[in-house]
């Protein structure tokens, strides 16, 4: 990962030598690669110092991080598997951000989506697998969508802060999940780990052919591209960005802000709900407390690191997937505690957010108008 970023930085800085006007014309776009890249390298540097303080070699650290995340085909699959749910849950934060809303309740939508998808599969046991899978996708998206729409509705009609309400809805979702899994939907045979019945091996969606990576990655990439097109290349997306920029101006020009909020919140929740459906249909095969693995919360981090850009979410999710994939190797080879990965995530988060202040301030990238 480190060398990739370094290459990108090299490319960005070497090529202008041949074309003196290059920087002036493309300085703005280069900034979007250079600044987060530099922030990332700075964060890795700080983490290296942190690790050196524990008496471990930073060079070993970088090597194992690279090996664990991207060094082998297995490592790549490990990274992509971990990235898959993060793309979808990050969209749950990034889409409402276009409207200026801070939604941090993707975890709740994921859990509700998993529950509705499981419930649907369980009542459709006799249907053909493709129909069950399609119904699960729809149910997961509708369940998750309505959940976040609830937070959007509270904001629009009752003036409730959507950040707080979406966060609190996570705990309600978890309580509903535990209640159903330990009561109404419990498989009586699941003695020491209360779970729903299994959706059945035939209804599982499996892996992308030739890999171990489940289809959630494809769903995520498609959803991210669709969101990008929706936000930047449609009238609806333009309206959303106008409303995000200035609600009053949007109302004056006649935009229905309420409808925008509810629709965007539904789409946001639907993508997290889809992540929940994938966790059931590709990984767990049923619903139980294991689903609350924190993907919804890591998704918030991904969305902010991607500066709420749906396309940038894909590489950022892969980066964080890689960090978490390499975390195991750091524990095993360097004897670092698991918390060190969280320290690295924290340093990257702070470095990237702090680097926001640099946009438009780097001398040699400034256009001369």
């Amino acid at each position: 990962m480190t060398s990739d970023v370094a290459d990108a930085v090299d490319a960005a800085t070497i090529s202008p030598a041949a074309d003196p006007g290059f920087l002036q014309r493309h300085g703005g776009s280069i900034e979007y690669i250079l600044i987060p890249g530099a922030a990332l390298i700075a964060a890795l540097g700080v983490f290296g110092i942190f690790v050196a303080l524990f008496g471990k070699s930073p060079l070993d650290l970088y090597f194992y991080m690279y090996q664990g995340a991207f060094g082998t085909w297995f490592s790549w699959q490990n990274t992509l598997t971990r990235a898959a749910p993060l793309i979808l849950t990050a969209l749950c934060t990034a889409l409402p951000a276009q409207l200026g809303m801070v939604i941090i309740g993707g975890e709740g939508a994921l859990l509700i989506g998993a529950l509705t998808a499981t419930g649907t599969a369980l009542v459709m046991q006799s249907a053909p697998p493709l129909a069950v899978q399609f119904a699960m996708v729809c149910a997961g998206m509708v369940g998750g969508g309505l959940w976040i729409m609830l937070a959007g509705g509270l904001r629009q009609y009752r003036g409730v802060n959507e950040t707080i309400s979406s966060l609190l809805l996570v705990y309600i979702a978890l309580a509903i999940l535990n209640h159903l899994v330990e009561g109404l939907m419990r498989d009586p045979a699941s003695l020491n780990k209360p779970s729903t019945r299994e959706i059945g091996a035939a209804n599982m969606i499996g892996s992308i052919p030739g890999t171990d990576v489940h289809w959630g990655l494809v769903f995520g990439v498609v959803a991210a591209i669709a969101s990008y097109i929706l936000i930047y290349h449609t009238v609806f997306g333009f309206a959303a960005r106008v409303a995000g920029g200035n609600v009053r101006a949007a109302k004056i020009v006649g935009l229905s802000v309420g409808k925008l909020i509810l629709t965007i919140c539904f789409l946001a929740g639907a993508s997290a709900g889809l992540a929940g459906m994938v966790e059931v249909a590709a990984v767990q095969g049923r619903t139980n407390a294991n689903l609350a693995a924190g993907y919804g919360f890591t998704g918030i981090l991904v969305a902010f690191l991607a500066r709420q850009n749906p396309l940038a979410i894909i590489p950022v999710a892969i980066l964080l997937g890689g960090i978490s994939a390499s975390g195991g190797l750091l524990q095993r080879r360097l004897g670092l505690p698991d918390a060190s990965v969280q320290v690295l995530q924290g340093i990257i988060f702070v470095a990237v957010l702090a680097s926001d202040a640099l946009y438009g301030r780097i001398g040699f990238l400034k256009g001369k108008y």
């Binding site: 090597f63 020491n192 924190g294 190797l329 301030r361």
Partner: protein, 369 residues
């Protein structure tokens, strides 16, 4: 850092350093006869469930020809599948101990099918004929040790009120609560056990609240079944109550208040497994045992334990170790007045009915739902 001053040369130097780092950092996994992987769901120094397994792993580290790799805080999702594969692919592990209950199905089963030549040993699962032959599940009848704790607690309480901080009303936990209460009633027929369920395995705040609430109601001896007993032990000792430990010996946390405790004896079992494999013996796929088989043990008595209590507890312990004592022997009534084990019925430890326990015996104050 002033990014405005970064020159091309600095960036080139930086990327060169990173490339060199990769080249120098190359390390191959040290060759060892057998590599064994341990996976924990929580932190390996939690004074609880995970530490008990880590102590077992530590016992293996002392044996020649073995290399132990460990990874902590691995969630019960596809992350554990990737950790297992990573230990196999990158570390060459040939024997794996995924130690958390939720790792078993579908995750460990999937990996055991994928790597049929490697051996997988799971703690707590219920291996059945449908599961792969290279997978196994082992567990201990720790309720025997809880029974001994109950006897000691029954002698030590002045109020006759005992307290139990429990995670979830599932069979394993109910069995411990019931065994503890039955033991206490041997010493003091009027003793009661008040139980509080916190709802999950690791809920330190709720565990502290439950501990305080129990002590406020007059409870003066407490025990627990949660992943990390540290919270209960420290809080109870601070309030002047006495405690019986769980999972590992917690006497260093509360030397004066610690009476005894129900401990896992993985440091005896794991070396035994490894020796069996080395000798070419098959480990039974379904492996269970208690004090007799040295899978569980009791902590040494604390100074507050009376001579009378020691004598009675040692007597029962000797019978359990000899294998001629039955804890769940009728007549046993539940705390709603219903007979759950009829007079004349003896439910020995291997009785499958006990794995389905869904009641609290007479003398327990609390409800399973």
């Amino acid at each position: 850092m002033d990014f405005g001053k970064i020159s091309r040369r600095h960036l080139l130097q930086g990327s060169a350093a990173l490339t060199l780092g990769t080249a120098f950092g190359v390390r191959s996994a040290a060759a060892a006869d057998t590599t064994i992987g341990f996976i924990y769901v929580g932190s390996r120094d939690d004074y609880g469930y995970n530490q008990a397994h880590a102590q077992g792993a530590a016992a293996l580290k002392k044996m020649p020809g073995l290399k132990i790799v460990e990874e902590e805080k691995v969630p019960e999702t596809d992350a554990v599948e990737k950790t297992i594969e990573s230990m196999i692919n990158l570390d060459g592990a040939s024997l794996l101990f995924p130690t958390s209950f939720g790792y078993y199905n579908p995750h460990m089963i999937k990996m055991a099918n994928k790597f049929p030549k490697l051996r997988f040993e799971h703690c707590g699962g219920l291996w059945s004929d449908k599961d792969p032959k290279n997978a196994g599940s082992y567990f201990g009848y720790i309720d025997e040790a809880q029974y001994i704790s109950g006897i000691v607690a029954g002698y030590s309480t002045k109020t006759g009120k005992l307290g139990f901080v429990a995670a979830k009303p599932i069979p394993q936990v109910l069995r411990n609560i019931n065994a503890f209460t039955l033991g206490a009633k041997l010493a003091n027929p009027k003793a009661t056990t008040q139980v509080i369920f916190t709802g999950d395995w690791s809920m330190p705040v709720k565990e502290a609240e439950a501990t305080n609430s129990l002590i406020d109601q007059g409870v003066d001896v407490l025990t627990c079944h949660v992943d990390g007993p540290k919270t209960m032990v420290e809080n109870a000792a601070r309030r002047g109550a006495m405690v019986c430990g769980y999972h590992v010996n917690q006497s260093p946390l509360a030397p004066k208040a610690y009476l005894t405790g129900a401990e896992w004896n993985w440091e005896a079992l794991y070396p035994k497994f490894v020796k069996m494999i080395a000798a070419g013996e098959a480990i039974p796929n379904f492996y269970r045992g208690g004090l007799k088989e040295e899978i569980v043990k009791c902590s040494p008595y604390g100074e507050a334990v009376s001579a009378e209590a020691r004598k009675h507890a040692d007597d029962i312990k000797a019978k359990l170790t000899a294998g001629d004592y039955v804890i769940f022997k009728g007549p046993i009534m539940d705390n709603k007045g219903k007979t759950v084990i009829a007079a004349g019925t003896e439910r020995g430890q291997k009785d499958p009915e006990l794995e389905k326990m869904d009641y609290l015996v007479e003398g327990v104050i609390g409800a399973t739902s």
